[in-house]
Assembly symmetry: C2
Homo-oligomer: 345 residues x 2
Amino acid sequence: MKPETLKDIAKELNLSISTVSRVVNGKGYVKEETRQRVLDFLATRNYVPNEIARSLKAQESMTIGIILPDLREVYFNRIIKEIDRVVSAAGYMLLIADTNESKKTERRYLDLMFQKRVDALVISTIDMDPAETPYVERYLNNGTPIIFIDNHPKLDSDQVNFVVLDNHQASRLAVQTLIDNGHRDIAVIAGYLDEPTGYERMEGYCQAMEANDLHPDPALIAIGNFKADGGYRCMEELLLQRDVHPFTAVHVASEMMTIGALRAIREHGLTVGQDIAVIGFDVHDDLGLATPTIATVRQPEEEVGQRVGLMLLQLLRPEKYGAPEETKVRVKAYLQSGSSIHKLQ
Amino acid sequence: MKPETLKDIAKELNLSISTVSRVVNGKGYVKEETRQRVLDFLATRNYVPNEIARSLKAQESMTIGIILPDLREVYFNRIIKEIDRVVSAAGYMLLIADTNESKKTERRYLDLMFQKRVDALVISTIDMDPAETPYVERYLNNGTPIIFIDNHPKLDSDQVNFVVLDNHQASRLAVQTLIDNGHRDIAVIAGYLDEPTGYERMEGYCQAMEANDLHPDPALIAIGNFKADGGYRCMEELLLQRDVHPFTAVHVASEMMTIGALRAIREHGLTVGQDIAVIGFDVHDDLGLATPTIATVRQPEEEVGQRVGLMLLQLLRPEKYGAPEETKVRVKAYLQSGSSIHKLQ
DNA sequence: GGCGGTCTTGCAAACGTTCTCACATCGATA
DNA sequence: TATCGATGTGAGAACGTTTGCAAGACCGCC
């Protein structure tokens, strides 16, 4: 019933625990004859080393914690998959938790994972409060590396590692694409400006406009809530005043807001990619269901995952993987074109 | 640097380890005065119990392993999220691994998770081979519960628990929906018939037809490979012989095949929901991007997750959660209607 | 034949808990 | 005052590993 231990094996073979251990781990002196005897015997049994005991002794759990606000987001899954691929090759496994967007749950998991003594932590936090720092600090004091993804707390210790999207570049890329297609009157639906994500994307829009000697018209800037209803509402407002403040294209700065904006355009009897060009942000339509196909800027999830994975290994085993060159990484978005953008002129 | 231990605390307070342990765990006799003294001291420090040591002593890891072929499938994420929600309330955490559809990797993870002594295992296996059984048997011999999801191995011990979709009912529901809309000449694109998933859905199609006194025309049955290209190819074949073997509707028995079939129809210049009615299987278009919206039967992922979560707790702590009533569960699919089905007559 | 090296093996400590047991104290009861 | 149960505390074993150390066997060399 209960798994066999080294002790059981040793007793049956009339050997000491140490000797059997040495055979199993293949380190230390063992007479070839003895080694074979142990190996042969082991083949007939079902011994599996107890990793928990090993962890206790070695003071490392070979486990990496991942805390996320919502596991259902495709975005995170791709990242996790890559992280798993990279770190599992080095023997690490992933302990994953979904906080369901709750700060309280996030803290609870931060606690639980520390109890479990994860060797490192990857987190997409929703809690930028200084109040959280004690929870995070425990890890840092303990020398346990943390990598933030998706966003990162203001606190700017050099112990804070992150891999996030270059929001400026992403929105710049989106707007520039519209401009390259001949659009000049470009609206933007941004997210909350007090969140870095919202603010930076908005800045990216301005940067691209100015780089092309276009002046962002304040009336063409709408502030949403990152959700579909916000995107819908913003688009409505823009459309209602379109005769006064005309525009031929719009950049929507999040996936869900893009969904809402598309619906608003359709309901106004206008056609996307014909009357109005739309470029979204991080729209996932991998099944290719949308018509017209939605042009969007996307983050390279695989790259993020691989970067995080590698950085983890480098932080955990610098002697083996080398010290990480850069621990604050902003990855570049890429353009996924689609027929939601029509050429102008 | 290194986390404090009970020993450290005990020494500083001039108490024994046992006493401090009793305070921390709130069990056993401790004088109120002592208790306060310990608590006060603890508040100034950063002691976090070492769960690894606890696990070793208690012979349980408070950890549940989850092995999946591809973490990116939305389907799995919803299930995981629910499982996490349910079992985390009881103190369990999830150890998740992505086998990337590789049998070899699956076995490796089966091994690794056993080393880590997970208290239970949830697996969507791609390996029905008897050759796998030794890996699975280790768990069973050890009394570690396993719950299969998505599919389950032929081996029919009563130790084999599962929560899967009722494929018969699902395809029956799909076909019946077409019939209810007036369609009588109904084609089906099935998956591999040597896989239970493919076979059962196909049977469901036949059952619904016969229940309505319709005779499935063998020429209207196409066998795909569960992938988009298979769906495309099958749809092509059906369309090419449509004058000889006419049909007004088709049921496609998997998500990716549905995508392929839709493309084929479009490329033939036909309109879905007008020339041909389509009902898919497990098509995820939660963003609502498709036009027309795709009617589909779907599995209730949340229900699956909750069932699995509850069953886990019941298997792990029957004294607390009661013994599970049923350990072989087939959940019912539900209909998600869409404009890809037009009414006939 | 003694010496120094390489092998071979086992003992025992350590990792940080939990928990049984033994012992001590104390107030209440007979 | 002796006895008892309840209360309070600590010593130490146990969980299953890894590993430093010691002791002995074996070998070749001077």
